[in-house]
């Protein structure tokens, strides 16, 4: 007997399995039980269903092999947390990130200022750093801090949402502007000559 040959009585095999599992409403179960007494086809299906239960009783739940279990235990060691998207949610870590960012920006700015001071001719008082360059550095630093805050917020919501776009536009671009701003200041410090032309639009 096959599912492709529906019984003439119209009772689907699934109903007989439902009866065997006790998943029918009492009234339906009673009606089907009564039907079995007079339908050889459905009786055969019922016998197959009962035989299937005996087969299932013999299919064991399997134990995870010891070698596999040992390998699973080593997963945390083999996959340590890394990357900006895995920032812990603890407050000290966020503060640490802010402090480190500020220190890095301050160190970069300090290096830039020292470099300019070191290259000034001894007979001429070193001019103060151009407001434009300092403004660019500070602006780039602010943008970088804002981008890192957005990235952290995205990571809090879902690490998966911190996409490459956020990385490219939110972090790499401000970081690039900061670098350019610092390099631009260094190049101007290396040029000979007393005065330097301020960029157009700069307020002196």
């Amino acid at each position: 007997m096959s599912l492709d040959d529906p019984a003439l009585c119209g009772i689907p095999a699934e109903s007989i399995h439902a009866l065997l599992l006790g998943d029918l409403e009492p009234a339906d179960a009673a009606a089907l039980q009564s039907h079995l007494e007079s339908c050889p086809h459905c009786r055969a299906v019922h016998q197959d269903a009962a035989a299937l239960d005996r087969v299932f009783d013999r299919l064991p739940r399997l134990d995870c092999p010891p070698r596999l279990r040992a390998s699973l235990r080593s997963i945390p060691r083999r996959h340590p947390a890394r990357g900006p998207f895995r920032l812990p949610r603890t407050v000290p870590a966020r503060r640490l990130l802010g402090v480190l960012t500020g220190l890095a920006a301050a160190a970069a700015l300090g290096g830039f200022l020292l470099h300019r001071a070191g290259h000034a001719p001894p007979a001429v008082t070193a001019p103060p750093p151009e407001p434009a360059s300092l403004a660019k550095v500070e602006q780039a630093e602010r943008q970088l801090r804002a981008a890192l805050a957005l990235l952290e917020a995205a990571g809090r919501e879902s690490a998966q949402r911190a996409t490459e776009k956020v990385l490219a536009e939110g972090v790499a671009s401000p970081a690039r502007r900061l670098r350019l701003a610092l390099l631009g200041g260094n190049r101007r410090a290396e040029r000979p000559g007393p005065a330097q032309t301020a960029p157009p639009g700069t307020r002196l």
């Binding site: 007997m1 096959s2 599912l3 689907p12 095999a13 699934e14 109903s15 007989i16 399995h17 439902a18 599992l21 998943d23 055969a44 299906v45 016998q47 197959d48 269903a49 009962a50 035989a51 299937l52 005996r54 087969v55 299932f56 009783d57 013999r58 299919l59 064991p60 739940r61 399997l62 134990d63 995870c64 092999p65 596999l68 279990r69 390998s71 699973l72 235990r73 997963i75 945390p76 060691r77 996959h79 895995r86 812990p88 949610r89 879902s158 690490a159």
Partner: protein, 180 residues
């Protein structure tokens, strides 16, 4: 926060369930180990977003999906590995003595040949003994859907293996089943 110790606890409790589901779904011990490894690695990598108090449902879902992906990848390589796959699918369930090894192998292969979600529901209910609610939560189905799929899966399996009632190996169920 999920520590390695908490991860170990989850793994100790549920690794066998994951392995059993994968084993009967893929009918291969090696493939089941790969899937089990993949599922628990994914659990560790996404531990910050998973509620470990309700991890059973996540593991059922992840294992079922991983098995589907694994079968797709295996099908793509089938031309080169058909001989090996034949050997692996004929592996008997380990550490179990049954009256008829041939019947056991037939049933294991027949289960693996079912479509999803019939296959996962059948293994979870009939072999792992999961409740309807656990299966519904794990596969994100309603309880009535789980029951309907289970009845249908059993009917398909019985039809594939028919006529079971005439098989001598199961008509006298005195044979012991040894589970390590």
């Amino acid at each position: 926060m999920t520590t390695p110790e908490r991860f170990d606890d989850v793994m100790d409790r549920l690794a066998s369930r994951v392995y059993t589901l994968a084993r009967y779904t893929l009918a291969s011990a090696d493939d089941a180990e790969d899937v089990t490894q993949e599922v628990f690695t994914r659990l560790w990598e996404h531990r910050a977003t998973i509620d470990l108090d309700r991890v059973e449902g996540w593991l059922i879902r992840a294992t079922s999906n991983a098995c589907v992906d694994f079968r797709r990848r295996r099908a793509a390589r089938r031309a080169h590995e058909s001989a090996a796959a034949d050997r692996s699918t004929s592996e008997p369930a380990p550490s179990a003595r049954l009256e008829s090894a041939e019947l056991r192998d037939r049933v294991t292969r027949a289960i693996a040949a079912l479509d999803e979600p019939f296959r996962s529901i059948l293994v979870l209910r009939e072999i792992e003994g999961s409740s309807y609610q656990e299966i519904a939560d794990g596969l994100q189905l309603s309880m009535s859907q789980v029951k309907v799929y289970l009845h249908r899966a059993r009917a398909r399996l019985a039809d594939h293996l028919a006529p079971l009632r005439d098989t001598a190996a199961i008509s006298h169920p005195e044979g012991a089943v040894h589970v390590p």
